[in-house]
Symmetry: D2
Subunit: 284 residues, 4 copies
């Protein structure tokens, strides 16, 4: 018994759903879940489909190949096929803040995150003890103006060596190099501590305090070349009041950051996030 | 150009989605939206599908008949087919509170609710002026212990005379007769002013105050024989504090009641609510 | 029996609370409610106090005068004293959207808003029928580039003639003249349909759609010379998804706008909002 | 420099606030924060006051004694005085679930919880490794029907030996003995995984699933003799849908449990919770 997840993006045309479901059916698959969305303005079609196949024999490669030659070609699809058993490999980048790291590792250990975490990377040595206590390899390489190139090199080597599928920036306070962004397009998940597009950049809690907002937020998004401008995956907010100091905003915000980042990571792991024109489609 | 909405409920089997989408395609339809859900425990399948058909000629009746003989029969479906142009006819029952009535009529007039409202019925004369100002027929028939049968008769006659599709109890403070419930199964929408199953029955704000809860809620559900026990369509809540008097809970609650009832009515109108074993499936 | 509300703003010093409460006590008053806040960074003190006085004889004017000579002078206070019986006079400015207007008038009629509403002003004639049905005087004066001065004149005359205490812009789509802003500092309440500071200016729902946010909001603030830059009174948000069209954002947003504006107005009416350095203190 | 927190509960009378603030002032104190509440129906007065005193000499004991003889006696107060420097001693009781434990210890270590945690007690040995990694003493004593008395004895001895101020049940799945409840009245904080009073007792997520609610919640309350019937400190909720399995409710609920319990603990530590007739007053 094998479960496959298929994600599709292509120009909208009549008959796609019928053809794809017919394909699954004729390959002895049972559709467990189907979700679809059409962006009518841009005539773009998106689908996510989970199917169960009785035997492994009629397996992944056969289905992959015949889908390629069949519906994928006919509709000019941008598509992917994933096996549920095959866990994705997630790298964690951190700096000094530990709350998101603890939160993700707690969920990982409880089985809530169905991934492998080959390593944690940081530009500071501070959180090594956490990696140790969860028995995950920790790499430390400082980042400064003078060694930016070496640091990028170091990171890229790690990502390749461990065959990483996607990166989570769990309050990693450094800019990611364009080269890495390019190799991991829509595969680097960041958490920003404001409800974007309000308060991009540094010190959003300070800015929120200055402006006197009654609500603060957190935003998880994919990293692009534009600072805090990538496709938004998840956002949430909490009410604050005039009595809250900046420090209290920071503390309240930590709870948001943890939850918003965790939700984004979970959606990414389940292949529920698709990106189109700098916006996300999030299947349920 | 015609838009049809198809809702399906049947035992879960392989191939339903493929067969249904193939059916639409072979009838020259274009699927605008598909949502589906499988209750694995109970092996029950649910689907909602919106399709666009190019000509009215290959119209409603033809499609209805051939679906009946085709997929519906094959999979033993409990199904319905709706035409978007054909508005449903909604009856409003009220007592003395006007906030939900005003809210629904405001949404109706702004075009947010795609229905016809042939009449408003009340056991009190108080809100007739609102019906008048919206130019909707108002019927008043008092309900007491001694005239319960006549009142039921009066209501049933109205419902039939106006060919009513579904009933909204917008803070109607009377028990609906089993006969009407029976004829309008899953077609009578109530708003209860608590987060059910907490505080069923009378005076939930008083009970919430007594218990000292920090959150109050409102629940919209279909009416069944069991008081406040029907399938829940929508719920929402708001925070309260020790400083709130019962009267302040009532005022805060009114905003919840309006929004929760409106959301439930909108989902019902769009055929997005399906009922199974006293629970709802709400398609998005 | 008379209830007075006292609001105070002054440099923070020792003994203010003791002196003020002693003052109330020695004037035979009973404190019903006290709330206070100190902005330590700016050494600013804020207080709101409700007291009950047994007889009207020892009334408003006596207390006002002796507070002026006593604590107010000692602590260099910026202060106000209000009588509960004396309702404030609220002007409503609207354009063509009716949802906030309906909502406020519904709350007004149900007794939720303890004000007088002498008139509704609009630059369009469309909503006159609503004013009529609530029996409130309606004034229409069109605003264009060429008659801006006359329109300002017209508005100012109305505000003076009716002795208006504060103005609510219930989706009034015009810029208020600096002259009026100046005469009604922190007395003009606006509702902006975004979570400021995100998406200031025109068409925020369009911008929110373009950016692909997962949350939309509404913000009520006092009008200042800076567009959408005034002190924020209240904000709230709701979740949205990729499936929501701009029009659906608009519809969802309407529910937010109504509630956020109503809350701001209620806080203003109860003298619970104090403004300091472009931020608000909101007492509970 | 010393900061004292005073909490007061007494029959409502004129002049309490004036007398108390005068007392602080005449003892050379500066009021940092005052919050007060009157339950008019029950004529009960509640106050919380933070004050800063310049020298330690004019210290805790002097103030305590003179308040006792002064306002406390005059108004028949039920009152307490706390020194900010003196940390409260919190015991943690757990069973097998680790999410609330991790969450509280993370907050503790980050300085968010201003307490001492002398030990963690459990009826199971499973979470000892967490206590170890945070270097907190761990005690394990199994609880069964046959050794209930010994287990109670064991717990009471620990609580006394370590001079515990209050107990947090971080998903401790056992009934607390009446003897301990009696010695720690309004000092045992529990987290229940439902929005009480809905779904008290065992397996609330299962019951929520069965009933088909659209919202699940968590409730933190003080333990009393009545199961899940004690004064509610904090509640929060999250939306769920028909697609969520019981297991998904459990996972979503964990995030609620952590946050709701943490907020309750923080309010308790800051002496912001007062209990009256099985309800809480929560100062801000």
């Amino acid at each position: 018994m094998s479960i496959l997840t298929l994600t599709i993006q292509c120009p909208d045309k009549k008959g796609i759903i019928a053809d794809v479901t017919k394909f699954i059916h004729s390959n002895k698959g049972n559709i467990l879940y189907i979700d679809q969305y059409v962006d009518r303005e841009n005539k773009a079609f998106f689908m996510r489909l989970e199917s169960e196949f009785a035997s492994k024999a009629n397996g992944f490669n056969t289905i992959h190949l015949s889908f390629e030659k069949g519906p994928a070609k006919k509709y000019n699809m941008n598509w992917s096929l994933f096996q549920k058993e095959q866990k994705r490999r997630m790298a964690l980048f951190v700096s000094k803040y530990d709350h998101c790291l603890y939160d993700l590792l707690g969920r990982y250990r409880s089985g809530e995150l169905d991934v492998e975490i080959p390593f944690i990377y940081s530009n500071h040595p501070d959180l090594e003890h956490i990696a140790d206590s969860f028995r995950i390899q920790f790499y430390h390489f400082p980042v400064s103006k003078s060694n930016k190139i070496e640091a990028d090199e170091f990171q890229l080597n790690l990502l390749k060596k461990y065959n990483i599928s996607f990166i989570v920036l769990a309050r990693y306070m450094q800019i990611i190099s364009p080269k890495i962004i390019n190799e991991f397009t829509n595969k680097i998940i960041n958490i920003h501590h404001s409800f974007l597009p309000a308060f991009p950049g540094a010190k959003p809690y300070h800015s929120a305090f200055e402006r006197g907002v009654k609500i603060i937020g957190a935003t998880s998004h994919y990293i692009t070349d534009e600072l805090d401008g990538g496709p938004i995956i998840e956002q949430d907010v909490t009410h604050v009041s005039h009595t809250n100091s900046i420090n209290q905003l920071v503390i309240k915000g930590r709870d948001l950051e943890k939850i918003v980042l965790a939700r984004a990571v979970k959606n990414h792991i389940s292949h529920k996030v698709m990106v189109f024109r700098n916006k996300t489609i999030i299947f349920s």
